[in-house]
């Protein structure tokens, strides 16, 4: 057999092999969560807040963490979008292709992208102490917003950089100002915005370290931005830390709920993206 055919077979084998390794890990994680989480899952888990002694095996559920996480995700996603869309628009429509400012900004966002969330948490925490703030839902939303803005910007930017020059020219030729092209630009990069949102939501809902200092943890559902809020990852953490095996199983249920929420958000996100991107050229 010729060498290049052997080469082809080996390469293909390696690709299949690495795919199997990845899939095996995913299946293993999901299997573990299901095996330990499903038996402990019940209606109380998602409809009740923790009763007294919940972390020692008492009754109740994790509604506090579910609601807290959703609040934080919703708040930070909206704030993040409001901040990052103008940045991306400015970088790609107002600045020239090889602008120094754009280069520095992109570099800065790349660095921010790589900063671990615990650093954001600690940074926000020192500021909160300076301002005399307590751990609160508002603080949690702010720190998660800071955390996901680089994700938003870099993933939208990658798509926006592919904006056809002709498309902008066509819009200008109709008499549009740079600002007025935003309607065209947003439609064109809609799939990028959706992907960025899904990535950010995933990061926001799964983050434990950033909210630990800033949002705190509580057994009740916050009714204002100044009250502390529980989050699902921290809820998983506290239950897993318990020596009680029943409580540990509940941690897996909580993880299952977390995954389920992410799955729903992803599916809805993809559905919305498809609606938006059907006009893309």
């Amino acid at each position: 057999m010729k060498f290049k055919f052997i080469e082809e077979k080996i390469a293909k084998g390696l690709m299949i092999g690495s795919s199997i390794v990845v899939i095996a890990f995913v299946i293993n994680i999901i299997y573990t969560i299901f095996r330990r989480g499903i038996p402990a899952l019940n209606w109380d888990m998602i409809s009740k807040i923790p009763a007294g002694g919940y972390y020692n095996g008492g009754g109740g559920g994790i509604l506090n963490a579910i609601v807290g996480s959703l609040y934080i995700v919703l708040g930070s996603t909206i704030l993040g979008l409001l901040v990052s869309i103008p940045v991306v628009f400015y970088l790609n429509v107002y600045l020239k292709k090889n602008s120094k400012l754009a280069y520095i900004a992109r570099l800065a966002f790349d660095v921010l992208f790589g900063i671990p969330s615990i650093v954001y948490g600690a940074f926000a925490f020192t500021i909160m102490i300076l301002l005399g703030m307590h751990t609160s839902l508002g603080g949690g939303i702010l720190v998660i917003t800071l955390l996901i803005i680089p994700i938003f910007i870099r993933s939208m930017d990658e798509v926006a950089m592919q904006l056809p020059k002709d498309l902008l020219d066509a819009t200008y030729a109709l008499g549009a100002t740079k600002l007025e092209t935003i309607k065209v630009v947003l439609r064109q990069i809609a799939p990028g915005i959706a992907t960025a949102t899904l990535l950010s939501v995933g990061r926001a809902i799964g983050d434990a370290a950033g909210v630990m200092f800033t949002a705190g943890f509580t057994d009740s559902i916050p009714t204002s931005l100044s009250q502390p809020a529980a989050t699902l990852p921290l809820s998983v953490f506290f239950q897993l830390s318990s020596p009680n095996a029943d409580v540990q199983d509940r941690a897996y249920s909580a993880a299952l709920i977390l995954i389920f929420i992410v799955l729903i958000i992803s599916l809805v996100g993809r559905f919305i993206t498809n609606q938006f991107s059907k006009n893309k050229i």
Binding site: K96, D166, D169, L174, G175, V184, N279, I281
Partner: protein
């Protein structure tokens, strides 16, 4: 007289200078009332210190098809893009001289560039529909310029689609994405989109080069029809196309206008050697 008119840069003074024309045009109606005017004087353009356009002087006649011809890289497209200042976004651009559009110098800082661009419908080499439905593609420009009346918009969309012969093909799917149209239909849609904002000029940059022969012929026929109402400036790489439809020809070579004039004169009786050689096919 001409000198006096072109030295003024504001619309008001232009109107005053042209007031003597009012008697002539009073009895004409509609589009015929509008006299579109484009004159380039002493235009020099540099990109990163490379001299791209060299001392260009020309006039574009109204209600005629003007073809800009010349070999690749001679600055035809750059010149066209300068007319509506789309060239501004190019890195390292510098220009001097002036381009007068209806008595306004488009390089004057006081001139609102969006107003100039609105006057110039652009048709690019590859059709570039906006990422919206067929209907919105045409309504977009009108909405941007303040027309929000649904009934009026419907009327404009129908009118412009009819003007480019697309109405019959798309009237049942106006809400469909423009990207679903064939490439020839997309180009006609882009033309209709440009017409919807009521331009005076149509700038076409090799508008048929990406199209199949039938769509290409369709666009050419449209140009011939539209020249009754608009001044059409067509950059073309195919000499045969210029021979077919040009009323006025501008021949460019290495950034200079070598020869310009009525099509039959330039084609049948070129004055310059370079023009002669180009027309004979010595280079392209």
């Amino acid at each position: 007289m001409a000198q006096l008119i072109y030295q003024n840069s504001t619309r008001a003074s232009w109107a005053e200078d042209y007031s003597f024309l009012n008697n002539d045009i009073e009895n004409r109606e509609g589009l015929a009332l509008k006299k579109s005017y484009l004159k380039v004087s002493d235009l020099n353009l540099y990109i990163n210190k490379t001299h791209i356009l060299k001392n260009v002087n020309l006039e574009i006649p109204d209600k005629k098809i003007t073809c800009i011809i010349g070999p690749s890289g001679c600055g035809k497209s750059t010149l066209l893009k300068t007319f509506n200042r789309l060239i501004d976004d190019t890195e390292g651009i510098k220009y001097d001289g002036s381009i007068w559009v209806d008595g306004l110098n488009i390089f004057d800082p006081k001139t609102e560039i969006t107003e100039i661009r609105k006057k110039m419908g652009l048709l690019s080499q590859r059709p570039c529909p906006l990422p919206m439905s067929i209907y919105d593609n045409i309504a977009f420009g009108c909405k941007m310029h303040g027309e929000h009346n649904r009934k009026k918009l419907n009327q404009i969309v129908e009118e412009q689609l009819k003007a480019v012969g697309l109405w019959g093909e798309v009237k049942d799917r106006l809400k469909a994405p423009a990207s679903k149209l064939s490439i020839g239909q997309q180009q006609r849609l882009c033309l209709a989109r440009g017409l919807a904002v009521e331009p005076e000029f149509i700038l076409a940059d090799e508008a048929t080069s990406a199209l199949d022969p039938i769509s290409s012929k369709h666009i050419e026929e449209l140009f011939v029809e539209l020249k009754n109402d608009y001044a059409i400036i067509l950059v073309t790489h195919t000499l045969r196309q210029a021979l077919r439809i040009a009323d006025h020809v501008i021949f460019m070579y290495l950034g200079e206008v070598i020869e310009s004039g009525a099509a039959d004169v330039v084609f049948n009786n070129p004055k310059h050697d370079l023009t002669k050689k180009y027309l004979e096919g010595a280079f392209s």
